[in-house]
Amino acid sequence: MSVFINKQTKLVVQGITGRDGSFHAKQMMEYGTQVVAGVTPGKGGQKFEGTVPVFDTVADAVQATGANTSVIYVPPPYAADAIMEAAASGVSLVVCITEGVSVLDMTKVYPFVKERGVRLLGPNCPGLISPGESKVGIIPGRICTPGPVGVVSRSGTLTYEVVYQLTRAGIGQTTCVGIGGDPINGTNFIDCLEAFEKDPATKAIAMMGEIGGTDEQEAAEYVQQHMKKPVVGFIAGQTAPPGRRMGHAGAIISGSAGTAAEKIEAFEKCGIGVAKRPMDFVELIRARLK
């Protein structure tokens, strides 16, 4: 079992003929993901790797192949439009890998996607993987193994680090989800926690947060109020200097400075196990699986 993607996931790759898109499309196919279509406007009618039909539009791809999920590897200026195209095409999950999407573009994309009841993961995220079933995005397949842990994280390589250590310790995963670190993204911690709570195969959850914003604090409250499954959390950025981008106005808006200390305190208050180092996940999760 898994969340969001599984063996039935039928994937369309937007930007399949580009540098990143073609590389990762192959990787996903090798992992066993059903890549049923690709999209590159102007290359409709071609075949990718001799097997995957390429279309001019996502609408054409979905109509012809019944794809239910899209993954996006298009350059930043076109990514917001690509997300909306996917959301309008009838797929139920859109995963946007592209980094560098305009935040104001996302203020428009977010309600567009929500209105259609489509789940968006990202942008600027590594995607997700349900070990042994399907992989959508760029998480290296070989560091994962099937098992009982749900993993959700705001960062890419830190996720790999934790998953790698879990796998080395013989602790497998149901699904590993990278929600992305951009200010405005489609899926947050709570969405993933809710899905893991419902997934019978998931027995414990590893959650990796970062400084900035209040997502982790809200997730902690959600865990306390709605979850029966154990959660172990980590916050990166204890030593980071105060964010310089948003300055103080950002902290006023969110009613929080978004520091690591604040987030760790919220975890502790809400019964979430706190990993002080990435490697601590192994023992904390193992104890909770018993």
């Binding site: 996302m106 290296p140 390589t157 970062e210 950002g250 006023i252």
Partner: protein
């Protein structure tokens, strides 16, 4: 990207916001000359990318051109929070009846641009938020509809009982929102938002922060970047597609991915060390990036040991190994080097390193502990 006050005000003017004419100068003599043109008292204002320049003595009221010259000579070259003042803005001083605060910021929780307005302007808005939060009104804008006239007027009436002032303020809200959206801002602020004794509305000080993701498609804004006012190492890093922030410790860190970079710094601290920097080489690395990263880090004389922590996903670890080898050939290191490296093409990478007499660990914890020790142990 932060804009200077004078740059933000230029943009305000393009969108019809009433803001005093000013002149940017770099010498005390030019300051005097500019002050003379405005015939009357002027303000001399340091143009630096930090808050609190007023408290630091970077903003002065001057009655005469001579005084402007004298104050400018003190402010130019002044250090404010580690940045040197290179430019001052000379602007006519305004008569002030009331000072309000008007700002827009992208809020991650609401996922919308949010207006913050308060009749208690002029001072730090943080202080208002902390002591009298009821004096701030927040309004989230649904970008699908834009800021609607009735919303702008509600904000105007929150600031002023008088209908003429409320309508005038509403107009400025619309203009500021238009400027914010058209320039891909993450923040735009007018503080103080002044009403003069004659009832005129003036944007007396302005601030704008541009979302870095917008700069590629907005070359006009990229051209406003003032590299001289930034930390040279950070400029160097940005121009080489690296994200770098200098800190005060002695363990130089080179990592791929922001989250892992922060976790690495935290682990350095956990083991008693102090990170010298945040440095993210990003996803698709190439050897050149590694060479640049090493150059930037080794320029910091505080650095006593260098730690690589690379988890190869998209990043190919052999690229990183090649980069290290190339960099060391060009400039042999004077401080010890610890390499942690795992993931994509790990075997090739290890071989490249071994061929040049370098070792690498596959364990993050072990590597961090070693780097801390080599830098001189727990502080």
């Amino acid at each position: 990207m932060n804009l200077h006050e004078y740059q933000a005000k230029d943009i305000f003017r393009q969108f019809g916001i009433n803001t005093p004419a000013g002149e940017v100068v770099t010498t005390p003599a030019a300051a005097k000359e500019a002050a003379r043109k405005f015939s009357g008292p002027v303000m001399v204002k340091a143009q630096v990318h930090v808050g609190g320049r007023g408290k630091a003595g970077g903003v002065k009221f001057c009655k005469t051109p001579d005084e402007a010259q004298e104050k400018a000579s003190k402010i130019l070259g002044m250090q404010i929070k580690g940045l040197t003042v290179q430019k001052v803005l000379i602007a006519p001083a305004a008569d002030i009846a009331t000072e309000a605060y008007v700002g827009i910021i992208v809020d991650r929780a609401r996922k919308k641009p949010v207006f913050m307005v308060s009749a208690a302007g002029g001072i730090d808005i943080e202080e208002v938020a902390a002591t009298t939060p009821e004096k701030i009104k927040y309004h989230a804008v649904d970008v699908r509809y834009g800021l609607m006239p009735f919303e702008a007027l509600e904000l105007g009436f929150f600031l002023y009982k008088d209908a003429k002032l409320a309508r005038g303020a509403a107009k400025v809200m619309q203009q500021l929102y238009a400027a914010f959206m058209a320039n891909g801002c993450s923040l735009a602020e007018i503080n103080p938002f002044v009403v003069t004794p004659t009832g005129e509305i003036i944007a007396l000080d302005g601030k704008m922060v541009i979302d870095d993701n917008e700069l590629d498609r907005k070359p006009d804004l990229e051209a406003l970047r003032d590299v001289e006012s930034e930390n040279p190492a950070e400029v160097d890093a940005r121009e080489n597609n690296l994200t770098f922030i200098k800190l005060d410790g002695n363990v130089g860190c080179i990592v791929n991915g922001a989250g892992l970079a922060m976790a690495t710094m935290d682990l350095v601290k956990y083991y008693g060390g102090e990170p010298a920097n945040f440095l993210d080489i990003g996803g698709s690395s190439n050897p050149e990036k590694v060479v640049n990263a090493l150059r930037i880090i080794t320029a910091d004389t505080n650095v006593k040991a260098i730690l690589f922590n690379i988890f190869g996903g998209i990043t190919r670890t052999d690229d990183v190994a090649n980069g290290i080898v190339t960099a060391l050939k060009q400039n042999p290191l004077k401080v010890p080097l610890v390499i942690r490296l795992t993931g994509t093409n790990e075997e090739i990478a290890l071989k490249i390193l071994a061929d040049h007499g370098l070792k690498a660990s596959s364990d993050m914890d072990e590597a961090v502990q070693q780097a801390v020790k080599l830098a001189g142990g727990a502080q």
